[in-house]
Symmetry: C2
Subunit: 398 residues, 2 copies
């Protein structure tokens, strides 16, 4: 199975992305639609933040039915921290889409991203919906991906095909990220569609497993968004027969691979990111220990500025590892940058540092910490902390 970072048509779905004037820059796309020709099976995962945007609250309610006709996603405003007016705005927005499509408004799920605390203009939104519905096309997934961008510099797309239940099925996704990216669902927005016919329970399981190893294994700044939404929609248009357990596993792997590609693209395009770094912790006593250590390293500002400075800083990496409450023996750990071992036996391997610094000059490298306490492992995807991260976030204001 090969995953490509590009869109593809998925039977049963049409897409659109238009410039409705919700963003400050009127020429940029800011309203995207995913429309299923008939009600699609749907599963969703949402932010666990106590502060949830109105569209998140509404989308969670509507997902309970397990079927939907359309996703209406906008950038330019997160519609979060907007009180009762925000909930009404989300409802009216969905109603506008439903009226154009001729479906029930409960079958439309809203998603918003952008500045918190501001309401977007409903009349502009309605006009945008009319334009978007007129533009709907099976080929327009890239337009949709562009419409959900905020500080992203490129749209994120991924797709693959597999064969299950006697039929070829397609899986394709779009996502947006850039800031407020941290473990525990913080992609802001990601959408995966498939033409496979998959039972609802299997769809939910596939999504949960995929998120654990993709969107929940990345960090840009450790901040958790108020709007994070990951949706998986299945049209069933591939008309495959009911998949067996092995085929369901293969389907789950394919969804996971598409999710992983999208998550990876989010980190690559993280705010100010100039390096993509895989932080792999192995030799932990348990997977949760491994994940805690990996997250602490991947979120440490001192480690991330060292990445930016091409500095194989054993002290900062091991100090971050030691700070998360997981017990280990510093005398036994080993630490690598790519294939260069830089620490062992409780000491820095000084002669290896220049080679490690060389490896860190690449756009992408890995840091591997072996705790030698057990056999569990976990990998995080992270980026460096650069001047541009500060610039983007000190200047992107309310």
């Amino acid at each position: 199975m090969e995953v490509r970072a590009e869109p593809r048509a998925v039977a049963g779905f049409r897409f659109a992305g238009v410039a409705a004037g919700l963003k400050r820059e009127p020429a940029r796309k800011d309203l995207g639609l995913i429309v299923a020709d008939t009600p699609a099976a749907a599963a969703g995962i949402f932010t666990t933040n106590q502060v949830k945007a109105a569209p998140v609250t509404l989308a969670r309610q509507r997902l309970r039915a397990g079927r939907l006709r359309a996703v209406a996603a906008n950038s330019g405003s997160a519609n979060c921290f907007t009180g009762k007016a925000g909930m009404k705005l989300a409802q009216y927005s969905c109603a506008a889409v439903a009226a154009e499509l001729g479906c029930e408004e409960e079958a439309v799920v809203p998603c918003s991203t952008g500045v918190i605390g501001h309401l977007y203009d409903l009349e502009k939104y309605r006009a945008g919906v009319r334009e978007a519905c007129a533009a709907l096309s099976p080929q327009a997934m890239a337009d949709f991906a562009m419409a959900i961008m905020t500080t992203d510099t490129i749209p994120k797309l991924a797709s693959t095909t597999i064969r299950i239940g006697g039929a070829p099925v397609a899986i394709a996704g779009a996502a947006k990220g850039a800031g407020m990216i941290a473990p525990n669902m913080a992609t802001m927005l990601a959408f995966i569609v498939t033409d496979a016919a998959i039972p609802a329970a299997a769809l939910r399981r596939a999504l949960r497993d995929a998120a654990a190893r993709s969107f929940n294994a990345i960090t840009v700044d450790g901040d958790m968004s108020t709007n994070d939404t990951l949706l998986l929609l299945a049209s069933g248009a591939a008309a495959n027969r009911s998949p067996d357990a092995r085929e369901l596993a293969a389907f789950g792997d394919a969804v996971g691979a598409v999710a992983h590609s999208l998550a990876r693209q989010l980190v690559y395009d993280g705010e100010g990111a100039s390096k993509f770094v895989t932080v792999e912790v192995r030799g932990a006593r348990s997977p949760s220990d491994a994940a805690r250590v990996a997250r602490q390293i991947a979120n440490s500002p001192l480690v991330k500025t060292a990445f930016f400075g091409n500095d194989p800083n054993v002290g900062r990496i091991t100090a971050a590892a030691g700070a998360c409450g997981v017990r280990f023996d510093p005398e036994r750990l080993e630490l690598w940058v790519d294939k260069v071992r830089i620490a062992a036996r409780g000491m820095i391997l000084t002669e290896a540092l220049s080679q490690a610094a060389q490896a860190m000059r690449q756009r992408e490298f890995s840091v591997r910490l072996d705790l030698k306490q057990g056999s569990a492992r976990f990998s995080m995807m992270t980026c460096d902390l650069s001047y541009d991260y500060v610039r983007i976030n000190a200047e992107y204001t309310t």
Copy 2:
């Protein structure tokens, strides 16, 4: 009781700070001594990091006796992640001090700060010890404070006097910070001395209470150091009679005030800091809830870059609050910058934002979040995240 950010003589102690050549810049002081004329009662708190520097391990052992003659603190090398050679270096260093003072080497406690993974030169250290011992003076606390600086731009000193047990007693402290500053003991190094005669158990209690509201309530970058050490030494030279409970409480408050002043100075001088921000969370169900929310806000890179950009960003602050697992109702919270209320009833008070942005242009301001869930509160001291933080940490390499 008034605390001044300046040194003072404390009966029973002498200080020194010299340039021994342990730092790259040979003219900078890098070796400091605190010497008690007779064995002083001592209490200590150390980093909880799994990766501990050799001097931390040795100091913890030696503190168990509850008495010591000297603290030997150096900058330029953290003597951490240095294997068995590092432990020997710490031992030999203390032995050199003991030989000069004519005391047992177990009565000397080592502290190191600086780059991790490097050993300092023992011969230079020994020569520095001879010079420092010759320079010991009751007036030289500022020299000591300068000798423990790394990326600090100013020495940190605080002192006060109170009257207990029929005698005036002095309390004075010195600290160093700048990076790897986070809650749970991450000041790197701080020392408080007093001439009071205080029982050992009361000394430990006073130190623990003081740390909770000072060094454990600050953050610069959320990173926990491998070398954090906070020591409280009491010479007894004030010859006060045994303090009663009320006087012990007053003593504890005074130690707390000196610790708070030092902690505040650490944050003021945090790496790249251009703003000092008090993050006060009130109205929480429990003190631990209040502390979790305050820490999440105070550590959030998105919040800290907003501080740098004079941006009263309700979204980022409430999103950080909502991400730490503490339950609250976003519709009820209220948020202030200084005396300007910027959020209430689940909405941003848009008309107040320009006034709040004005308040944020000051060197120092406060952010107050009232969760309206209970009556518990906690305050964190933090700073902004600026270009200079990135510059300092991308360029300060191994």
